[in-house]
């Protein structure tokens, strides 16, 4: 185990300077060091998608990335996307459609859905299902989630038109 090393990054727009062990993964850094507990840890081996965050605009599994790899990047978590209003419509669609039960997969699911919804075209249901296929949900059976994402895509397209 080597000594702590300094790391500097932006988290939800705030500059963060930390001193972390090289082995500390980004999910643990967000949860334990920064207390951003909306990023959930489900499998710790990159399969379940619960820890999905956005780094420089791309979605990433924070359990598979070391904190020091995030040096100089801009990290966005569910707390950030909630507070800046970016996904307010998607969250409303999830609420309306009951697209969550226990809610543990939800932050990662919203992150991944928003990644698809940033594209201008309205995705069909199978495209939505494929895009979300790396995010595990044990409660809903996925249909309500697909419905909520589809409804949001249509509404955004209407607003653009």
């Amino acid at each position: 185990m080597s000594a702590p090393v300094p790391v500097s990054l932006l988290v939800n727009g705030e500059p963060i300077d930390g001193l972390v062990l090289p082995r500390l993964n980004l999910a643990d850094f967000l949860r334990e060091n920064l207390k951003l507990t909306g990023t959930h840890v489900g499998c710790e081996h990159g399969v379940c998608g619960a820890c999905t965050v956005r780094i420089d605009g791309e979605i990433v599994r924070s359990c598979l990335m070391l904190t020091i790899q995030a040096q100089g990047t801009s990290v966005e978590t569910i707390e950030g996307l909630s507070d800046n209003g970016e996904i307010a419509d998607l969250q409303a669609a999830f609420r309306e459609r009951n697209a969550l039960q226990c809610g543990y997969c939800t932050p990662g699911m919203l992150m991944t859905a928003q990644d698809l919804l940033k594209h201008p075209s309205v995705p069909d249901r199978q495209t939505i299902r494929e895009h979300l296929s790396g995010n595990y949900c044990r409660c809903t059976g996925y249909q309500a989630i697909v419905d909520a994402v589809e409804a949001t895509a249509r509404k955004r397209a209407e607003r653009r038109a």
């Binding site: 959930h40 569910i78 044990r138």
Partner: protein, 796 residues
């Protein structure tokens, strides 16, 4: 929606202006979860909190010769390293038996293994440190000497004389056996065509996305233990923790906030959780345990691993004359505590043949010990096995006599006007609706058109199948489930409702929330009965200090039992409020009503006084009330079913799928469910319970299996190798309802949480066999992996 019974009276307490009953309203407080601001136990931190990790046995069966933790104890951050022998002084062992399961036996189980480990994954030592990482670092420096013992792994040979007995004191490896013989099976079979098959079920587990998590906080100064745990049954945890730590129940508080999935996984008492409570007491500080994913696979209860030989007799006209089963299941080395591991096999005996009017039924179920992880109740306990065996046999019988699967069901399902009645296994049915459900299902799926499509596609070598499965579901369990067997698991629930000083309502309920919508249904019922808007109802649950005593949420009981308690409490509060209002307004309670947060005239709806004004008067100006009036703006009521041991529900499912006969892959195209859960409080929540349940059943049908080798090693204890349903492979699921309210409660609600899981695998298996009919292949094993299908097709 089809309603089979008219409401008893024209205007019930639920059928009021602005009622929320039967309406889709969003669940309260979802924003917390949507914004990543939930409070799961895995998020919790307390001052001076330590973290525990468990060193677990790599062997399925071994004697512990020595544990050397000296080097580990000297490592930075290590607080304590505790063995089973040391923890024994703090917490007593337990035996998972219940007296109503006659003959059930098990051996004492310790929080941490003492002298011997009985499955791969059993805890051998606890390492407590200032962080989880420090504890894991230290764990690598604890060395344990084992003397490996022969592992009992195959349930089929567990009872052979040559097989070692896991617990010598028990005499053999038989945990439980039940037999049943109703009617005259031999006579019936001798006069019928007989078909038989061996049904094989994979070992499944729940894979809750948040692993099991607990923070135990022993406050030595208060002599009180606070347990923060993701559990379905807080009062049960309170009782068991107190019992084994030598405390009074009043010294234990259990708090359960957000829970990241449960499905029956989090309704049991696990050894490592007991160890965490004990460690907190021993070390006089908060201790946190969160299972990692490998630990979840190795220690969360498994379920379903059954092999069941089934026989069915059928007459030339399609009459089913008899069912016979011989069921075998291996439950691991201990019967789980306190609900026991005999319940699933017991349910299989209870439920096989359940939808049908067949009087002749013989069953044997045997439950054996083995050196694998423990098995116990997981969503839809026993139902998927009973349903797959029953519906698989019915399809085989239909094929034998050349009858359509729908027709044979039409001829044998219990008639909708035959109720109340009982099954050959003694299950009492108040009112079911098999035929109305079947009719509705056929309409929804357009059965004839699908059959035509299937035939047309076969010509172009595309093999699609239709599978149908009727089922019954155990819901609203009375004391018959656990209480009569001596378990301190409450079958009654309580709700307290009070009007606060601004006319809002605070409602404390003993049922719990894991995402089903317990909070929502409680608020909907209370709001409707009281005449208060839902936004003004706040529901408190999951805290033994702050809710009435009750069972919690499991076995599809929350809406039916907790919901009725909420209804009765709200009725009582309403009566109290109207009494006060009558005194203030110089009227009578009968002349008044509560609508939209105000007291109004019952006759013309004219507003009289707002609830917040009434509350202000009661709390701050009681001097202005007439003499002799003592307002009670709080009411508590409890409810438990007494007339029927269980409120049975019923339903039917259909699967439409395609089998690629070259690769063995199954593509699910569509799934339908018609379900009868009685009064529907929130249609959306009911439908989503069913959809989620179906998908769990689809996972069982196609993907899920804990694969053990012959030495008892779990070889796929991770999410990359234990496959679960993901969004891309799942079909859209269409849901319909028939409504037969139970008359045992005013609410009339039965459960819906397990209906989806009960029948999904059976429908899929029948559909796969339907697709493969041209090839003469019959498969009675799940999961239906490509390997299983290609083997049946003779391609590998």
């Amino acid at each position: 929606m089809t309603v089979t019974r008219a409401p008893a009276e024209a205007l019930s307490v639920l059928d009021r202006p602005n009622s929320y009953i039967g309406k889709t309203v969003p669940r309260p407080n979802l924003d917390r979860l949507l914004q990543g601001r939930g409070q799961y136990v895995s998020d919790l931190e307390l001052p001076r909190m330590a973290h525990v990790v468990f060193l677990r046995s790599p062997h399925a069966h071994a004697r512990i010769v020595a544990i050397d933790a000296d080097a580990a104890r000297r490592m930075s951050g290590v607080i304590a390293i505790v063995t089973g022998r040391e923890l024994e002084a703090v917490i007593t062992p337990w035996v998972g038996v219940l007296s109503h399961l006659k003959g059930l036996k098990s051996a004492p189980q310790h929080a941490i293994a003492v002298d011997r480990v009985c499955w791969q994954g059993e805890a051998v030592a606890a390492i407590v440190a200032t962080s989880r990482a420090a504890a894991e670092d230290a764990m690598e420096h604890v060395s344990v000497g084992y003397e490996e013992l022969e592992a009992v792994t195959d349930m089929r040979t567990a009872l052979d004389p040559a097989t070692p007995v896991i617990h010598a004191s028990l005499g053999d490896n038989l945990a439980f056996e039940r037999t049943l013989d109703a009617g005259d099976v031999d006579q019936a079979l001798s006069e019928s065509e007989v078909v038989e098959a061996d049904f094989v079920f994979g070992r499944h587990t729940g894979v809750t996305l948040e692993p099991r998590a607990v923070v135990a906080d022993w406050n030595a100064a208060e002599a009180r233990l606070t347990i923060y745990q993701g559990t379905q049954a807080p009062h049960m945890v309170q009782n068991i923790a107190a019992l084994h730590l030598g405390l009074r129940e009043a010294q234990v508080r259990v708090i359960c906030k957000d829970v990241g999935g449960s499905f029956g996984i989090k309704v049991h008492i696990y050894a490592d959780e007991m160890a965490t409570y004990a460690l907190s007491k021993l070390l006089r500080r908060p201790v946190k345990f969160v299972a990692d994913r490998v630990e979840s696979f190795n220690t969360d209860i498994h379920a379903r691993d059954h092999r069941c030989r089934g026989r069915i007799g059928v007459g030339p006209d399609g009459t089913i004359t008899a069912f016979e089963i011989d069921d075998l299941t291996g439950i691991g080395p201990y019967s789980m505590y306190p609900r026991t591991s005999a319940i699933e096999a017991n349910q299989v005996v209870n439920l096989v043949g359940g939808p049908y009017a067949t009087a002749n039924y013989r069953a044997r179920a045997r439950v054996v010990f083995q050196n694998k992880n423990v098995m116990c109740q997981y969503r839809a306990v026993g139902h998927p096995i009973a349903c797959s065996v029953t519906e698989g046999l019915v399809d085989l019988a239909a094929a034998k006599i050349g009858m359509d699967p729908v027709e044979i069901r039409r001829r044998n399902l219990i008639a909708d006007d035959a109720y109340p009645c009982a099954s050959p296994s003694g299950m009492k049915f108040e009112q079911l609706s098999h035929h109305a459900s079947l009719t509705k299902l056929l309409q929804m799926m357009d059965y004839d058109a699908l059959r035509a499509e299937q035939m047309a596609l076969r010509a172009s070598n595309i093999h699609r199948g239709i599978g149908i499965a009727s089922f019954i579901e155990v819901t609203n369990p009375s004391a018959a489930f656990y209480g009569v067997g001596g378990a301190r698991i409450s079958s009654q629930d309580g709700v307290a409702v009070r009007l606060d000083a601004q006319g809002s309502v605070i409602c404390q309920t003993s049922i719990t929330e894991q995402g089903q919508g317990s909070e929502s249904l409680t608020a909907q019922i209370v709001g409707s009965v009281l005449g208060v808007s839902m936004e003004r109802v706040r529901v408190i649950l999951g805290d033994t200090d702050n809710t009435p005593y009750g069972g919690g949420t499991w076995a599809s009981r929350g809406a039916g039992i907790g919901g009725e308690a909420a209804l009765q409490a709200a009725k009582a509060l309403r009566e109290n409020v109207l009494k006060v209002a009558a005194a203030i307004l110089q009227s009578t309670p009968a002349e008044l009503d509560i609508v939209n947060d105000s007291i109004v005239n019952a006759a013309d709806g004219a507003p009289r006084i707002e609830l917040n004004e009434l509350a202000r008067t009661v709390y701050f100006r009681p001097d202005t009330l007439p003499p002799g009036i003592q307002p009670e703006l709080m009411a508590t009521r409890h409810f438990v079913p007494r007339q029927y041991p269980f409120a049975f529900t019923n339903g039917i499912q259909a699967a439409w799928l395609e089998v690629d006969t070259e690769t063995g892959f199954v593509t699910l195209l569509k799934h339908w469910v018609v379900e009868d859960c009685g009064t529907i409080i929130n249609p959306q929540l009911v439908d989503e319970q069913i959809r989620g349940g179906v998908v769990q059943g689809l996972g069982a049908a196609l993907f899920e299996k804990c694969i053990y080798d012959e030495r008892g090693q779990l070889t796929n204890a991770n999410m990359a190798d234990y496959l679960v349903p993901m969004s891309a492979e799942m079909p859209d699921i269409e849901i319909g309802h028939v409504v037969s309210p139970t008359q045992e409660s005013e609410l009339g609600a039965k459960g819906a949480g397990e209906a989806g899981t009960a029948g999904a695998a059976a429908a899929v298996a029948n559909a796969v066999n339907d697709a493969l009919r041209p090839f003469g292949a019959i498969i009675t094993e799940i999961p239906l992996t490509p390997q299983v299908i290609l083997t049946a097709l003779g391609r590998i």
